[in-house]
Amino acid sequence: METPVKKIGKISRGLLWFLVMAAVVIAFLTAVNRMPSVIRDDYARKYNTIEEVKLSLKPDRVLIPSYFPEGIFWPPSLIFAQKRPYKAVVMEFNGAGGKDTVLIVTESTLKGSDAKLQRISLTDVKEKTEYNLKGKPAILQVGICNNGASCSSMTWQDNNLHFTVLLMSSPFELIKIAESMIH
């Protein structure tokens, strides 16, 4: 009959082997996850600059704001883009202090995809109105976002692209940002 010490030794050895095997499995999964990106580079991934996005995915166009309220600066703190399963470019900007996202600009070929593409969304709409954005019909909404902050959003369509700008601030600044994207 085995002593308790020997039994604990068996369990410990087994645990070690299991951890090694689990690590191999995880490493394999990581490699499997990267393989499609080697074959094609148009899946959703992070980019360092908008120029990289333009070079890699060659999107039809990427509209960039030229106006930023005080405390928000170019370049974006996060850029991710994809061509599959639909084209999309998302830019996030942090506010003063550099921690929290205060501005999100998305463009995609799939209508309504902003809910999936934005980590912050306007969930409690207090006001909703139509707005003429330099000749383009847009929807302006004001309310509370899912992070509890007051926010406003503007959505419009230009040809086959759907744009959404979400700002943790008043709609007046939001309108200026949106208008700066259209030339």
Partner: protein
Amino acid sequence: MYAVQTVLHSVIASVLADCALLAWNLKTPAVKQRFRFLALFLPVALFPIYQAIFPRRGDVYFRLESLVDANKWFFLDIWGGIPLLALFVAILILTAAIFFVQEFVPIVFQMLRQARGDEETTEQRQDEPIERKMLEAIEGLPFSEDSVEILNDEDLILFSSTGFQPKIYVSTGLIESFSAEHLKAAFAHEIGHIRRSRKPLLLTAYILRMLMFYNPIAMIEFRKLAQEEEKVCDDIAVGLTGKPGALAEAIDMLRPAEESTKIRGIEGVASGIEHYSHELLLKSRIHRIGERDNDDLNWAMPYFVTVFFIIGVSYFIV
């Protein structure tokens, strides 16, 4: 999305369960069953639990940081424009078809056969030596001879029905072919099945298997689980008779003859594969009976470690 994730989570659960069985060298069939059960149970439950706790799991941000994003593979084009997703869906449909043809329909036939078996037993038992041999075999086993039904059939038939009035069905052909000792071992194996039917593991596993009728991993794991069940019942049989050799010989005698499996065409290939798989199981059982070895390890800790890893890794697979 649920179907995709259950399949992916099944793969992870199956692989990690096998890793655990290997790492801790777990051999007892009942213990192996518990690990294999994870690959049936966890995939069904995990996705709704994950989504309830973290609703944004599966959005783009989560996928960017995930361990595996299945969409990356599914939207790869193969054969000029057809996405890999189409192949995946085809596999699920094929698995569903196999389930209905190979499992669901035979169960219906089995139920009909058992009903026919009831009708056959209304015949008078005429052959006294057969009945005497049956009584000799059942003696000493915890089972009433009144619950043993003899079927007038030359083939080697032995099966049991469970429920409130369990019965063992045995053919005259088998009684004539087996010695009393072999028959006792065979009966003891069936008593094992009847006893095990009172525990819900296999029934629960089959319900989960039916819920994931499209999942090829669930199909494979359930079959492995059923194979382990045979070995558990072998252990029960040896425990009841104390004669492992008799059981091994009885199993060996139940191996089907080669000639009976020569069918041509696709049916022949499928039949051949099924025959080969059955052969492997029977050989493995015979070999195992000869070298029965129970784990001397407390499997609780390995089990919980495995569950923890399955839950943790599966969370990051979308």
